[in-house]
Each structure stands twice: as structure tokens, then as C-alpha cells.
Amino acid sequence: MLTSSLPIKAQIDLILLSLEALAQVGSAEILTLAEAMGFEAYLRDRVGLWRLRQASPLRRGRTGRRKLDVDEARALALICSRLAQQHRQTIRTAIEHWQQQASQGRPPHLDPVLGDYIDRFTGLYQERMADNRSDGPELAQLALDLLVDLLFYSTPQGARRLWITLLERTTPATPSLSLVEPEPAPPPAPELPVLFPHSDV
């Protein structure tokens, strides 16, 4: 799945992309919200927002900033959650359409609401992302996965859920201990834990 093990900056960019595809959330709305929430220091204008989103490694022609510090990531996460809450009815309606399609055994993209969302998301993704491995069905699945995520980010404690999800999905896969060959001599001490393994969030 595309959203697993992605850096936080890429995950946030995808969340904003899905909101854009579903609810036509544009940069003006994001900037207005940032100012209302007191985050204008991180998102001063369209260029600042563009540079932050361009930090995603999935982006085509990455000319934006390479780094996203914790405060910026936090501000963006809080803004994403607030946007989801503001558009929760749209999100819920799309989920209801999906449930209805599923109950009739029909694929989701045949529903007008979901079909439009998936089309817009796929178009935006292919336009902006350098990742050309993703085909239509894979992107449609990604759009639906992000829709489910948005539903729970729109809950009253959605910001907390979003932040936990960002961190958990960034955590690298744990090596299976069962694959480690037993050694007669004690193995070398593991490297010191990296306190901030995702400083390049």
C-alpha cells in the first residue's frame, strides 16, 4: 500500500490531495484555516504551502524544502484534521455511497460521487507525483483508503488519531527476530537507538 512507511511529509501531502479531490479544498482554504489556528508562521502564503507540500518525496520535480520540522508537521497535521472535521459530512456521504455500492455488490467507482472523487484523485496524483508505477486500480484503492482515514480524522479526537497514524506508519518495519541466526558468540551490541530516526519527516 502506498501510504505505508511513507515519510510524514508524504502522508500529509496525500491527505491534502484526497481532501482536494473530495471536497475541493484549495490552498486558499488551507491558508485561511492556518491563520485562524495561529499557524501563519509556518504557512505564510501559497508559496510557503507549496514548498511544504513539495517536500514530499513522491512529488514530481522536488524543488521544495527537503526538511519538515516537527512544528511544521504538527501544524499541518492539525490543519488536516480540522479540514476533515469541517468536511465530515462530505466524507461521511462518500462512505455511505461506498457502503451502498458494496451492499449491492457493485464496485465503488460506478457510483457517481465516488467515481468523481476517484477520478479527481487519480488525475491530481498523476499530475503532481513522480511515481509513475501506480496504475488506475492502485490509485483508486489509495483514494478509498484515504477516504476511510479521513472519516476517522474527522472525529472529535481526530487530530490525535491522525498524529499517531502518521508516526506509526512512518515506523520502519521491525526485523523478525526469528530470522536472526543464533551465534555462538554474543552478537555485537546494537547501535545506540536513534532518538529521532525520522528527523527528515
Binding site: 489556528m37 495561529g38 456521504t93 462512505i95 478509498l144 482515514d149 490525535r160 497514524t165 508516526l167
Partner: protein, 374 residues
């Protein structure tokens, strides 16, 4: 002071009989103690329980959603003391109750359940500010002033708050995929503590606070909670109230109903009711049915050494209008009794248009007495 908090979503309704803590009046958010809850998914499911079970349900749902979001492609299952949530697909989730019932929740129903529990916990969980305030008050008291009365009073209040705030899900046995997937080499996951601290989940509802201020407000802003006493008593609801109330789908409601029970110090029922019910005779059948209801359900707690007395106000349709504790123990133990939520049926409808008054005595021996309270 007791009240009923109602949280409505399109497919889900949570009613919580709760007790306001003494200092809740001065706070933006009123910390309360839950006594009893009722959760309904329309006609599909009705589930009742006490404070502890509601916390278990909240913990279960939070664990499940976290696991579901962080491992979206792995089947998710979380178990807490007989409560089970299990994913069938992204759109379908099984909720198993301790009594064996299983309900299939659509994704939107699960979302509604999460939302009402979030709303409830925003009100229920005491505030860090409250604890800080209690600590600072304690620190400011000069030694000479720490007389027995002042000291005991403050410490008791602080303890009450702290216990609630720190109420752990620790006593619960939690099984989840996350537990079988510990961090590698015992390393802490990146920034683990910050997840549980309030810093990252402030999101104050409008008006938003600047970042530095928002870190002090960990929970979503709760619904406004005016003192219940200032609210007018709601009109008696129609007997059949099983259908979920019509709500706009995105509406998140907290309805505070009029106080259902008075504190032990003010035992008298609401004046509106008293004069109208005193002269109403109590049918013998109703007495028998109410007694049978409690006789079947009353399980005296081991540490109970006195009888619990309540005044029961019964609507003509046989449902509970009010239950008023008549002694201190009755107030303290009300969440351990089988007294249901308001409007729950206790007996079959009886002739007459006025409510009747009953006296209910629950004894430590397990004996139940019900008689007319005229």
C-alpha cells in the same frame, strides 16, 4: 447533582447518567462521574452498563481505531474483557458483547460510535488544569492553615480528581495486534511519550488558540454545559422512544436533561411532581412488578452494610420518571443498583394520568422492599 448526558449521532445514541463533581460549576468543562450508560443503535442493539464498562468500551474502540488506521491491510481484532471488535473488511466491523451478542457495524456506525464516545470522554475526563489548580492550591496553603478540616477537604478533592484523571485502563486485559508487535530491540518508538501527552491533540474548536496556548488544552472543546438546574424540565417524552431522534447527520449533540436525581442533601423531588402524585393510589400489580424487577436484579455489593432507600417516581406508562436517593449510601451506591435510566420500563402501564410515588429499599441481605410512598 445528577444529570443525564445524551450524545446523538445518526445511527447511535449514548445516554449517560452522570454525577457532577462539586467544583464543576466553576470550570469551562464539567468533570463528572458516570453512573450508568445506555447505548443504542436504533432497533439493532441496545446495550447498558456501568461506568467501568463504558470506559472499557471507550478503550476498546480507541485501541481498535488506532490499530485499524495504522495497520490498514491487516485484519484488526481487539479484545477487552469479553468485548471484542473485529474487522471483516474496511466497511464492516463486528462488535461482540460480553453477553454473547454480536452486532455487525457498518463503517458509518462505527464512526458514530467513536464520535459519541469521543464526545462523552471529552466531558468525563478531568482536566489537567483542574489537577494543576488543585496542586497549586495545596502548595499555597501555609502550614499553620493545614488544619484537619482544610487539609482533609483539599486532599480529598485532589484525590478524587487525580484518581479519575489517572484512571488507567490498566486493570483491563487488552489483546490487540499492536501488542504482539513490540518495538524492535525494546527501543522506544519515535517520540512515543508525546503521543499520549496533550501537546499534539489540542485542536481547539473555534476560536482556535495559538500553538503555544493550544498545548494546554488537550481535549477537544466540549459542549457547553450550563448548570442543569437552570434548564427547564423536558416535556415527558412519548412512550415509544426507540427510534433515533431525527438529527442532521453532521450534528454532534450533547443534550443535558434536567437533573434526574437530587443530591442526598436535597432529597425532595422536583416540586412540579410532588403535589400531583401524592394522592394517586398505587396499584398492587405495579408494586409487585416493580418489586419483581428489582428482586431479579439486585446484587448487593460486598462492602454494603446499610440499606439503600430511593424514592421512585413512575410514569403512568410504567417507565421510570425519577429515582431519588434518600440516604447517603443510596447516593454513593446508585451506580451499583439496578435502577435503570429515565424512561426505562419498570412495570406495565397502569390506569391513571398521573405519576405515582414508590419507596424502594434495597437491603444488604439482597432483600428488596417496594411500597407506596404517599
Amino acid at each position: 447533582m445528577s444529570t443525564t448526558l445524551s450524545y446523538s449521532q445518526p445511527t447511535c445514541q449514548l445516554d449517560v447518567a452522570a454525577e457532577l463533581l462539586p467544583f464543576s460549576q466553576k470550570l469551562r468543562r464539567a468533570p463528572v462521574r458516570s453512573l450508568h450508560f445506555s447505548l443504542a443503535f436504533g432497533e439493532k442493539l441496545r446495550f447498558e452498563g456501568n461506568d467501568r464498562q463504558l470506559y472499557q468500551l471507550k478503550t476498546l474502540v480507541n485501541q481498535y481505531i488506532e490499530s485499524f488506521l495504522t495497520h490498514p491491510q491487516t485484519p484488526t481484532e481487539v479484545v477487552i474483557e469479553g468485548l471484542v471488535l473485529r474487522s471483516r473488511s474496511p466497511l464492516e466491523h463486528e462488535l461482540h458483547l460480553p453477553d454473547g451478542r454480536v452486532i455487525l457495524l457498518q463503517l458509518t456506525e462505527l464512526y458514530d460510535l467513536v464520535t459519541v464516545l469521543d464526545d462523552w470522554s471529552a466531558v468525563m475526563e478531568p482536566l489537567p488544569e483542574l489537577v494543576e489548580r488543585a496542586q497549586s492550591i495545596l502548595a499555597q496553603i501555609p502550614i499553620w492553615a493545614k488544619s484537619a478540616a482544610v487539609g482533609v477537604g483539599i486532599v480529598a478533592a485532589f484525590t478524587l480528581v487525580t484518581q479519575r484523571w489517572l484512571m488507567p485502563p490498566a486493570s483491563m486485559v487488552i489483546t490487540s495486534p499492536r501488542e504482539s508487535n513490540p518495538s524492535p530491540l525494546g527501543m522506544p518508538s519515535p517520540l512515543p511519550e508525546s503521543l499520549e501527552t496533550p501537546q499534539l491533540a489540542p485542536l481547539p474548536s473555534p476560536p482556535p488558540a495559538p500553538p503555544q496556548a493550544s498545548t494546554l488544552v488537550p481535549l477537544p472543546s466540549p459542549p457547553a454545559m450550563p448548570p442543569p438546574a437552570s434548564l427547564p424540565a423536558p416535556p415527558p417524552p412519548p412512550p415509544a422512544q426507540e427510534e433515533p431522534r431525527p438529527q442532521s447527520p453532521n450534528q454532534r449533540n450533547v443534550v443535558i436533561q434536567a437533573p434526574t436525581e437530587a443530591a442526598p442533601a436535597s432529597i425532595e423531588p422536583v416540586p412540579m411532581i410532588t403535589p400531583t402524585v401524592e394522592a394517586t393510589p398505587v396499584p398492587a400489580t405495579t408494586l409487585r412488578e416493580v418489586k419483581a424487577y428489582f428482586q431479579d436484579r439486585w446484587r448487593p455489593p460486598a462492602n454494603l452494610d446499610t440499606s439503600l432507600e430511593y424514592r421512585i417516581v413512575l410514569n403512568p406508562d410504567g417507565t421510570l420518571a425519577q429515582a431519588l436517593p434518600l440516604n447517603g449510601a443510596a447516593a454513593r451506591f446508585i451506580d451499583r443498583t439496578p435502577i435503570p435510566l429515565r424512561e426505562s420500563p419498570l412495570a406495565s402501564p397502569f390506569a391513571g394520568e398521573r405519576p405515582i410515588l414508590l419507596r424502594l429499599v434495597l437491603m444488604p441481605s439482597g432483600t428488596v422492599q417496594v411500597f407506596s410512598d404517599n
